[in-house]
Symmetry: C2
Subunit: 191 residues, 2 copies
């Protein structure tokens, strides 16, 4: 997606060899107009699918997911909640996620009422790096018996293992910008 790639070049900042700061438009300050274009692009890529629900994880996935839902007939958005506490609760699906950034595990949870066997789920997130969050969301879908239709990612760090891990699950992955490398603070795209 050219508009997004331009924005990453103009406003993104590579730190070290693997961190890309895009908090001016994607995950701290949010550019809603850009999100609209992102939503339209996800709609274009998944338009042949019958989506009934968008699933994301707090916090930075929520804005993109809500704006995107508008281009999918306003389907409900569900965000998985993060917590560090294990919590025996029969009313929720939960999955264990390892965060490389924080070097720690956390739990993501969705109330069973909001993820059903009849759902066709589009998973949306802002970043794909190691893929652990997306695998956790896929795990929640599996527990619910819901059909995960695909995964829509705004920025994929293609030099990390997330893409391979998601594709191994036999699920369609659409990333709007794919970063080949951030070496020496230079942002290089895949194509």
């Amino acid at each position: 997606m050219e508009l997004l790639k331009r924005r990453i070049c103009d406003s993104g900042r590579a730190i070290g060899n693997d961190i890309l700061k895009v908090d001016s438009f994607l995950n701290h300050q949010l550019d809603v107009q850009l999100f609209q274009e992102i939503g339209k692009e996800f709609q274009r890529r998944f338009r042949t699918e019958r989506i009934t629900k968008i699933l994301t994880v707090e916090a930075s996935g929520i804005g993109v997911a809500c704006i995107t839902a508008q281009y999918f007939n306003n389907v409900p958005v569900v965000f998985a909640k993060k917590s560090t506490a294990k919590n025996l609760n029969a009313e929720v699906y939960e999955s264990n996620v390892y965060s490389f950034t924080k070097g720690a595990h956390y739990i993501i949870r969705v109330d069973k009422k909001y993820l059903k066997a009849e759902d066709n789920v589009l998973i949306i997130d802002d970043f794909l790096a190691n893929g652990k969050a997306v695998l956790g969301l896929l795990d929640l879908c599996r527990q619910a018996g819901a059909h995960a239709v695909g995964v829509g990612i705004v920025i994929e760090k293609s030099f990390q293992e997330g893409r391979g891990a998601v594709l191994k699950e036999n699920i369609r992955l659409e990333s709007l910008a794919r970063i080949k490398s951030l070496k020496e603070g230079k942002i290089i795209f895949m194509d």
Copy 2:
């Protein structure tokens, strides 16, 4: 806002005397179509103000804030990040917030780049209860020298002290649904 009140009656659930569960449409599963009507109503109420930024706090404020921004010429949304760790960082504004629900303090933070003295800020949040989160957001605005134009709340629990605490700051408060009481599991509105 009648549509919202009807939805609260239909889908909300009062638990004990002071908890209102609205996770089927407001803070776990998100009804984007309802959020559009909420956004239009905030726009109607604040239409005479020149808003340059919408400020909220993760996580459940983000969806409403992003959809609402569309009715304010797509102004940027900034969400304050929550953390429990004190963190000496000269690049952020931070404020200490006490959560009655969790019985614990947490810190909210905004990068100084995204809140400026020239900003006219509309604060948006899903709930107003004790008002501590909104007071924290007002504190961040004050530190930045930004002008807080008003506070837009989806559901106000008017039997708690949030409303009084916010009005004491001499700031305009617009709550789209005001709950007078949840006693014995019955949802009673202010008017």
